[in-house]
Subunit: 237 residues, 2 copies
């Protein structure tokens, strides 16, 4: 609350840590990890080089923090996007749009994360995997709820569909990065959602169902409408 230095001790330390992460992110994005000097990061964050090492074990740990920070933001964003919808496939569409845009917007940052792969240090790679798993858990949740509701076939394979979803989107995003003229969010979203839907309809095998799925959708929706109506009547208004 003080105008001058409002912070508690903890806050001051956190602010400094954040400053280092921000400085590092900017520099890593501009010049890559190898091209960035630790001394530069320190200078930009307005701390002495030695101080920086009180906050992070080494340069690699700074990169890890940058990447972790990014995954956390991504996860929050994806969760928000999905929570804005109620229907399984509306959620899917929202997640698709969010993921595609986020991946493209932060492409360099995501690529920076690949710096933690194939380092020969298992613990580091595990960290990246854990954040990723936490992120895709949103899809998993969506998928499982879809199964509960009958929107997704009970025998559909979660991991196969998940790989289809994120794999296609990542490659698509890369293409869009390299060929801006191919950037068509709506078209791609429609394509990906349609593919995922078709994979959701039946597990291992491809469907080739015709209007069966349509009428199933209709039946399930009608059931819900009826339930909602009943519910509504039961309220004493």
């Amino acid at each position: 609350m003080n105008a001058t230095r409002p912070q508690t001790r903890r806050e001051r330390l956190d602010a400094k840590e954040t400053a280092v992460i921000s400085a590092a992110r900017a520099l890593f994005l501009e010049k890559g990890e190898a091209g960035t000097r630790v001394a530069e990061i320190a200078k930009r964050a307005c701390v002495a080089e030695g101080t920086l090492y009180l906050y992070f074990k080494n340069k690699r740990a700074i990169l890890q923090a940058v990447v972790a920070d990014h995954w956390e933001q991504l996860t929050v964003g994806a969760r928000e996007a999905v929570e804005g919808q109620t229907e399984t496939f509306d959620k899917l569409e929202a997640l698709t749009t969010f993921h595609l845009r986020a991946v493209i917007a932060d492409w360099s940052l995501l690529m920076l994360g690949t710096r933690l792969w194939a380092t020969g240090a298992e613990a580091e790679e595990q960290m990246e995997r854990d954040y990723r798993r936490n992120y895709v858990a949103i899809f998993d949740d969506l998928f499982r709820r879809g199964q509960d509701r009958g929107d997704v076939a009970a025998d559909a394979s979660l991991w196969q569909v998940r790989d289809l979803f994120y794999g296609t989107l990542e490659y698509t995003a890369r293409t869009m990065m390299l060929h801006p003229e191919r950037t068509d969010y709506d078209g791609v979203t429609e394509f990906v959602v349609a593919q995922v839907k078709s994979a959701c309809l039946s597990g291992g095998q491809m469907p080739l169902y015709k209007e069966e799925s349509g009428s199933r959708d209709l039946r399930s929706i009608t059931g819900r409408l009826e339930a909602a109506l009943k519910d509504l009547k039961s309220l004493d208004v």
Copy 2:
């Protein structure tokens, strides 16, 4: 033809270069790029450290050579796999099987290639992209011939289907790496081929839905109704 030292000068130089690449590949795979000393590579390849720098500009160039070598082998293998078949979708299946197995077998080597991303050096990244493009040209060729033969819809989008194909396969391979119990080459091949087929049948739009848009509308309306109901309930009446 000489039993002792048969080589011409050029052959001798090539052999030395190859020795360096092999040594580097082994060490990089074992300890990662950062964990490998250039001196180690030189020792293992039986050349002096200074000599090594006559063949490669720097450590990064050695890594590039290792990666380039790998992409070339992959491309040869994929081409052979596809040439063994005559029908469009038999070729596709052969390519799927080959790619999946190759990616899994050489996963660490592929991950090593990611070391060339996000380095802040555009030229390096371009090299990786060029090799990749050369590799996926096999798919592109397959796709276009399929269109000529009428197996693939004329309005199907090459790059979207290509991203679907390679994206799904890469993510699937990663899953299989991390979860060996999910390794089911045939099942995955079937799944991926089916997805690609369905995407090949018609371009931007997914083919299979007829009344889909109708039920989508219904679903979205139902969702809004349900949300309104929930809202209504939350008012203490």
